[in-house]
Symmetry: C2
Subunit: 202 residues, 2 copies
Amino acid sequence: MRKGKPNDPERRTRILRAALEVIASEGVHAASYRRIAVQAGVPLGSTTYYFADLETLIVSAFETLRDGLEPRYAAPMRDARLDTDVVDALVAATCGSTAPTLTDIRLYEEMHLYGARSPRVAEVLRDLQEESLMVLRRSLPDGTARAVDALMWGWWSYRALHPGDPLDQGMVRSAYRALVDIAVTRMERGDRRGVAESTPGV
Amino acid sequence: MRKGKPNDPERRTRILRAALEVIASEGVHAASYRRIAVQAGVPLGSTTYYFADLETLIVSAFETLRDGLEPRYAAPMRDARLDTDVVDALVAATCGSTAPTLTDIRLYEEMHLYGARSPRVAEVLRDLQEESLMVLRRSLPDGTARAVDALMWGWWSYRALHPGDPLDQGMVRSAYRALVDIAVTRMERGDRRGVAESTPGV
DNA sequence: TGAATCTGCGTACAATGGTACATACTTTAT
DNA sequence: ATAAAGTATGTACCATTGTACGCAGATTCA
């Protein structure tokens, strides 16, 4: 078995990065082999060589997005132990220091929509969301985790639609506080109705 | 000035409906003149005649979507006067009888993403959201209304991603309950920090 | 060295896209 | 009736797309 070595081992990675740049700035529908090649500064043949078909290229790009997003946003949440820490971490992840950039939100939205038609991307998306829920469940019951996840996504989405209109951190904080509190209250009372309903006995 | 009368006055409407059907089932990127013409059962020239360019057609389609969505989802909320009514209405709008269908959610998502690149569609979207907030503000302070709006969108989005996994109504209810309650609590105490912060003095 | 194999790239092709436009049909005003 | 204006459609053109494929270096093994 003879093996050739690539002259530019970074080329594949550069193509993937370029793909994400194109998707972020012009949308998945604009992500063509040629457009991506231009963005990456490589010839067309180079993109078709590394990725047999366009779908594969796009799925790979979203996978690298997932792998890049995950550690960045999951880590701060994982470290939060106290309730107040959790709320702090949630606020920060929504509109604070650890919040995703508008570009990241766009990418996430593009992935979301593309995933509606591409099973492979849907899989990547579910991975990402499952990971996120897993982290939240370390500090919150399942139902609350889901609500918090939905609320955060809603706010990110809002930010994307109103780029010039920053969220009111006080408002964001009280909302998370309220959601986290219902969990605490119910758990203290041993009340298993409502929020903790769908928690499997782990 | 002589005026001609259209042979088929429903044609324009039919094209718009067809456009929404295509967008819902295959995405905006698949919404071409030809594809829409086939869906509507009209010749290609008919679509280009009624809509000078594709962007106009798509924007018009989204406008009809907005006009159709608005009354359906706003009315039940408008009628809710008591706090419990509000929560009931929110739960129903999220995953109950007045909740949007998966198709509607898809359409909404497509509009959202297309709006990221099309100012005209972004305008339509903001209209829709502003209307929604307006209705919520009849029963809730501004901050709470925003949080509720974000949360609902997050859950719709979740439903679209997990079509076979219905939301737990109990969980949904407690979450809304908690958000609505912080508003009530603070207002009773005359505490204007946090949630009511950004409410303009109306 | 030389043949085999892999890496990398430019070109070509069939399909599909938006849109321009010439043509035909309807209605209205005189 | 007839000309003008508006309605409606089929065809054609050019740009862009994904992909197939042949060709050139590079690398490896004998």
